[in-house]
Structures are given as structure tokens and as C-alpha cells.
Amino acid sequence: MAIVDTAPAQREKADTRLIVKDLGKTYVTGKDAHEIFRGVELDVEPGSIVSVVGPSGVGKTTLLRCLAGLLPATTGTISVGGRMVTGPVPEMGVVFQDYSRSLLPWMHSRENVALPLESKGVRKAERNRIAEEALAAVGLEGAGHKYPWQMSGGMQQRVAIARAIAYQADILLMDEPFASVDAQTRFDLEDLALDLRRRLGVSIVLVTHDIDEAVYLADQVVVLSGKPASVVDLVEVDLGTERDQLTTKSLPAFTEARSRVLRQIRR
């Protein structure tokens, strides 16, 4: 299950634009049908960050799982770099909400990070090198020998992010990645996401219920609301790529975007 167009393309930045058209998902059990969301349109340019916000239970996680290829969508199309996508692809790395449960406890963190590469057929020395680099990129240099259960929540989440990076993903899909850590760790991880975009040029689609976080990180905020859910607003956030927790959050543009998002959700 992967890319429909089989032309082997080089990994260029232009090739990693994620375009979602008219995406919808309906669950059918017996005779009942539950429409979760409909008509979702996204345009994630290479190196940009898109936040998806909405009230609890609206279907944000379902949307992300469809993007990741873990769930087949009922209607609509997803394309990466112009190629249609119907399942998990090498260009997309996923960071799950339950990071601690997606890390394997019988392997230390470097092995966890390197494991998807083993599936790709990368040789051992190369795998370890890439894994070490990825761990360093998320600030866990030297922690490769530690087991997930020996690490804090924040560190475990960094390992999960490192795993997505090591996979050479151009697009990171993150499902409420910073929800289960304390506030200080959350700020550090948010800045890490910005840092990764700056240094590696990855695009990020981030699902969150935290509006501050959504606006702080994003170039675009997609507001999902309603039942069935749909995109009620698309807020462009013009705060530049250099941001920090103190100054950015006191800018008027931040407050304005934030209020607009909040209003849309409340509607």
C-alpha cells in the first residue's frame, strides 16, 4: 500500500507538498453510519507548519490517521508531491499521542529510533549513525543506550520525534504530541518542533486542542468544528519563522489570531 504513481523521484523539497482535497470519513457499523468529517481541504507547503485545532472528540485524530494512511478515507484524495497516496508512505513520519506505548520497551532508545530504518533495508552501521544524529537533533545526544522506561515523558516524546526524523520523513504528522507532558517540557518541545523546521526543512501537521500552541507553532491554523466536522476557518498566522515563547506570545498578531480561532471553535 503506498504511492500510486511509481515514477521514482528524487527527494526534492518541491516534491513534499501535501495536498488534501475534499477528504471525508464515515464509519459504517451494520446499518448505522457515522460521518466523522467531510470536505477537508489542506495545502501544506514544504517547510511549513499547519495546526489542526478543534473541540475534543471532533475527529482531529481520525483526520490525522487518514493522512498517515492508517485509516482509509471514505471520500477525497491525499497527494504528496503530486503523487496520490493511499497508505503509509516513506515521506511521512508519525508521532503518536501515546508516545510511551509506541516505543518498544525491550529496546533502548537508539534501537527504537533505528528500527524503521531496518525495515527500509538500511545497513547497520548507517542505521546507527542516522539514529545517533536524529537523537542529537532532538537534544538527546548520548542517551541512546537508555531504555524508554528509564526516561521521562518529555524524553520519550523526543525519542518518538527522533524516530520520525531518522525515517527521513519530510512531513511530520503529530497527534497531540505535547499533551501529556508538563507545561515547561511542552514549551521546550514546541521550540524543538520550530527548530526542526528551521534546520531540516520538514513540514509539520500538528493536531492539538491547545489554541496557544496551535497559533504559536503554525503558519496556518485549520479550525475543525461541527458535527459532522468540517473546516470552519483557515487562519493564516503571520509571525515569521523566528519565534520564541516570551516575545511572540505578546505580539498583537498572536492575540488576534488566537481570538479568531477561539471564536470559531466556540461557534
Partner: protein, 282 residues
Amino acid sequence: MLIDSARPATKAVRVPTPETPWYRTRAGLLLGRVAVGVFLVLLWWLADALDVLPDTLLPSPLSVANAFVTLTTEPDFWFAMLQTVSNALIALALALVVGIPIGLVLGLLPKAERATRFLLDLGRSFPVIALLPVMILLLGVSSQMEILVIFLAVLWPVLLQTIYGSRRLDPVVRDTARVYRFTLPIRFLKVLLPAASPFIMTGIRVAGSLSILVAMAVELLAWTPGLGSDMGRALVDERPEIALGYFFWAGVLGIALNALLQFLEDKILVWNARADQGATNA
């Protein structure tokens, strides 16, 4: 054509696959299981027809089914079953009478854990059936000997589970009972026993299944009266289909006993939970 936009788009959307597979429906599951059973019997019949295994090992399914049914018409069969079951249940009752009090006491004494660890591990891993020859030397071939062997075998699950249950008694509850000077019998009955009862019930259930298995093993090897020795006799008489009939009946017996004990366990635990609720509501 009116398009009602407020309703979820059911007809307009083409859903590729149904989300409930066939085997998860009640009818589908039953049919599927029956189909598997039929398939297994067919395999058996084929193996028998092709003489893959000697007839002394694998008689035809028809002959076994026939024996299975015919056995119920023979009074000797029911008598043997009564023998086996009564041996097993007497031994089980003895194991409960001995094992539960000792287990409760041992669980309460923290010092006893270290001192008894070796003995309990030894007892747990000891294959009691190995005691059969010495038991025969001492007590001869008799039902009493059989009951003693079963007792020794089923004592351990009951004892061990009771000890676990007793050990896990919330220290707060234990201290409260002590502070309020509940007398020892009350402490035992109202505090310790209910708290340990889930574990004790598990022990009884395990012991129950085990008692039938050990009873049959003793009867097979020592020829004490019961289902096991009848099965052994069928083998000596070169009637393997009858032996397999006994074999399957023993399986049915084990399942029935387990179901009964599970039922009792659920009843007692519900009663227990209700008592807890009553206590907190009071």
C-alpha cells in the same frame, strides 16, 4: 429530488467495505465454529481411512462417537464417574479445610514468607503423581489412597492462592481491625476471608480441574475403581475407541466442573462486592 443536507450522507457515499466482518455476527460465529468442527472431524476421518496412524492409536471417528454415546447407557459408566467425582470432591473438600486456614494464617505472618518460601516452592513444583508408588506400598490399592494422593496434589493451589490473598490484605484494614480490638474470629470471618476470597476462589477453581485430572491419573496407573481404570481396561482389551470415549467424557467432566466453580465464584464475588457496598453505604 430533495437533498436533505442536515442528515449524514449515507446513500450518497459509497462505502468500500463493511466494518463488521462475518465472523463477528452471532450467526456467522456459530456457523464458523461448527464448520471448523466439521473440518476437524473430516481430517480425523481421512487420517483413519488412509491409515496414517495405527488403529490402536486412532480409531475411526464414528466408532468413537458411537462409544461416547453408548457409554451413557451402561450403569457401570455412571458408577465409575460417581467414583471418580466423589474421590475428587472429597479430596478437594479436605484440601479446602486444611489449606484455607493454614494459608490465611501464613499470609498474615510477614516473617513466615521467607521461612516457608523454599517449602512452598518445593511443594508447588513436586509432581504428586510420583508419590503414587510409595502410597501404594503404604496404603495399598484403595480409594483412600487415591483420595490422599489427590488431596496432596490439590492442596498446593488452594494453599498458595490463599496465602497470596491473605498477604494482600490492605494493611490499613488490618490495623483498623486490630485497633478496634475485633476478636480473632471476627477478624478472620469479616475482614480477612472476604478480602482474600477472590484469590481463594481462583485456587478452588484450579484445584477443581486438577482434582479430576489427578483422580484419572491415579486410576489409570493404580487401577483403583473409577473412570481412569475403566479407560485403562478398555486399552488392555484393545478397544481404543471406548478408551477415547472415556477420554472425551473426562474432558466434558472437567469443563462442567470448571463451569460450575466459575459460576459459584461469580456468585460469591457479587455477594462480596455487595457486602462491601453495603458497608460503605451504612
